[in-house]
């Protein structure tokens, strides 16, 4: 009789524990993902396609950029800085994850295009293959000054015009150096991270907005230094307005 009572109590306890473990409202963190679209106007960016910007035809052979230093702004105004999360945005990949963030209501978020000045000068050979800051192929790091290229856009533009001829001359925009990192502010784009559900934010960058005031026929080369610096500045200045959060 005693044994049956003990077993019943034990059984009851096990059931109680098992069912209470199933409850999900104890999650304090959930995954925050980005669905990150690289656009050219209304279209998803693709290589070997001809586009037009300010009346000049062009195609793309490369478009990648670094984003980092994400800050999430809570409802009460306090900020959560996500350390050590760097994305190398590539048109071939739309999915990037910030991993675990605290559950709650957020007023908005910020990030930078580029890298902070400490990360920008770290030794790229120390990152394992697959890390966005490791040496890439094609490269996106200036070995001669030990710094990263924040945004790299390459392709061909039509130097001849009128605008129904094939892009024939190469253009390249290599925007980097510490002073060209830019904070992208979405501090008024509220969102919620709910316990039990991972969250995805959809964001897009439109290359046409990045070069909205650039004339490819005369402004088609920058590596951010010397005489080519003003074009890099022009491009970096356009970054904020080139992003949209859905």
């Amino acid at each position: 009789m005693k044994n049956l009572k003990s077993i019943s109590i034990l059984f009851f306890a096990i059931v109680l524990i098992a069912t209470s473990c199933k409850k999900e409202n104890l999650n304090t963190h959930q995954i925050l993902d980005f669905h990150w679209h690289s656009m050219i106007g209304a279209n998803e960016a693709a290589y070997a396609t001809t586009y037009t910007s300010n009346g000049v035809n062009f195609n793309l052979s490369g478009w990648r950029y670094y984003v980092s230093n994400f800050t999430l702004i809570k409802e009460d105004g306090s900020e959560i800085k996500i350390a050590d999360k760097v994305f190398l945005i590539d048109i071939a990949n739309d999915d990037y994850s910030l991993d675990s963030v605290p559950v709650g209501n957020y007023k908005g978020f910020k990030f930078i295009v580029g890298l902070d000045s400490v990360t920008n000068h770290k030794d790229p050979t120390l990152y394992p293959t697959g890390n966005p800051l490791a040496i890439q192929d094609p490269g996106i790091h200036w070995s001669w000054n030990s710094g990263y290229i924040f945004m790299m856009v390459e392709g061909k533009y039509d130097s001849i015009s009128p605008n129904n001829t094939t892009p024939n001359k190469e253009f390249f925009f290599h925007v980097g150096t510490d002073e060209f990192s830019r904070t992208i502010d979405f501090s008024n784009k509220s969102f919620s991270v709910i316990s039990g559900e991972d969250k995805t934010i959809a964001i897009e960058m439109d290359l046409l907005k990045v070069i909205s005031n650039v004339d490819l026929k005369t402004e088609n080369a920058t590596h951010s230094f010397g005489a080519l610096k003003p074009l890099a500045l022009k491009i970096a200045t356009n970054w904020q307005s080139a992003f949209t959060v859905e």
């Binding site: 790229p124 050979t125 192929d137 070995s143 001669w144 610096k229």
Partner: protein, 327 residues
């Protein structure tokens, strides 16, 4: 009791033996010249025979270049004190570079790499010539892929760094090899460190006094056991510089035309001179400094007309020749 002590000693021995196995480096000794301090070496790249051997093989192997024609040694010849005797170096497909090849002797002591100091250490340095379009025109990822097709490189990399050839093992090994390159046994060193008063002639001693004294003032930038302070200086070669030098990195207008002061050790064997190899002889260089240089706004205030006599110029050049390593 005896048994316990025996077992305990055996136990300690096992621990000690195991510990030795875990040490990544043996007692490899760098042959540092008399009077030189120990160079600073990163903890994860302490030298041992395997690492130096891997680095040495890579240094002389043109596999690092796209068409397998150019190695590090192509611009850093062992018989020219690790320079190449050209004004500007030549890379693959006979592409002419933009600067003069600096000597790698004593490179372990340099706080920055290149004439403009753009890279902070030896480990990252090799990436630049590998990527440069007029040097090796390649990329480190492809270099590593090639090395992983070689049984001997795979074996050596495993021995040296406990991993197959990788960006890490390649960059570290070459740096390790370069940290074995020293120069500090010239007639000057014999005179100063061995106190051999017969090591220098009267002319060379006179030249030495000019170098280290008010007549020449050379020591201000070319002093210390390295014969450089590794600072960036504009020495008034041009009124307008095609190559902006340090300003290329910092983008400060005040850095235009400043280049890292090169070491004068072995200078008699490392012609031509300056960042662009525009001075063919030591006599030309002495003549330049004697004139006080051209009036570029960033020219170092240390440069003033010297008013050296003909004999003083000869003595100074003789002293510079006495900085050649006898080895």
């Amino acid at each position: 009791m005896k048994k316990a002590i025996l077992y305990f000693s055996f136990f300690l021995f096992l621990i000690a033996a195991c510990k030795k196995e875990n040490l990544p480096v043996d007692e490899y000794t760098l042959e540092i010249p008399k009077g030189f301090p120990k160079p600073s070496i990163p903890e994860n790249n302490l030298p041992n025979a395997d690492r130096v051997e891997l680095g040495r093989r890579l240094f002389f192997d043109p596999i690092l270049s796209r068409d397998s024609s150019i190695s590090c040694a192509s611009c850093h010849h062992t018989d020219k004190k690790f320079t190449d005797g050209l004004a500007k170096s030549i890379g693959i497909e006979n592409r002419i570079g933009i600067r003069n090849s600096p000597s790698l002797l004593n490179v372990a002591y340099q706080p920055t790499m290149f004439w403009d100091g753009g890279v902070p250490n030896l480990e990252q340095q090799i990436l630049a010539p590998i990527e440069s379009h007029f040097e090796m025109d390649f990329n480190i990822i492809d270099v590593v892929a090639r090395l992983n097709n070689s049984e001997s490189y795979k074996a050596l990399s495993l021995k040296a760094y406990d991993q197959l050839p990788s960006i890490f093992s390649v960059t570290r090994a070459i740096a390790c090899f370069e940290r074995t390159l020293y120069s500090g046994t010239s007639k000057y060193d014999d005179y100063v460190y061995n106190k051999n008063l017969n090591a220098l002639s009267a002319s060379e001693i006179n030249g030495m006094n000019i170098f280290f004294g008010e007549e020449g003032e050379c020591f201000h930038c070319h002093g210390t056991y390295l014969f450089t302070d590794n600072s960036f200086k504009n020495n008034g070669i041009y009124l307008q510089y095609q190559d902006s030098g340090r300003a290329h990195i910092t983008q400060f207008p005040s850095d235009v035309g400043k280049f890292k002061v090169p070491s004068l050790r072995n200078v008699a064997m490392t012609a031509p001179y300056m960042h662009d190899g525009s001075f063919a002889t030591l006599e030309d260089v002495v003549e330049h400094y004697n004139s006080g240089g051209k009036a570029h706004p960033n020219k170092s205030g240390l440069l003033l007309p010297l008013n050296l006599t003909t004999q003083e110029k000869i003595d100074l050049v003789n002293f510079l020749k006495a900085l050649t390593d006898e080895k």
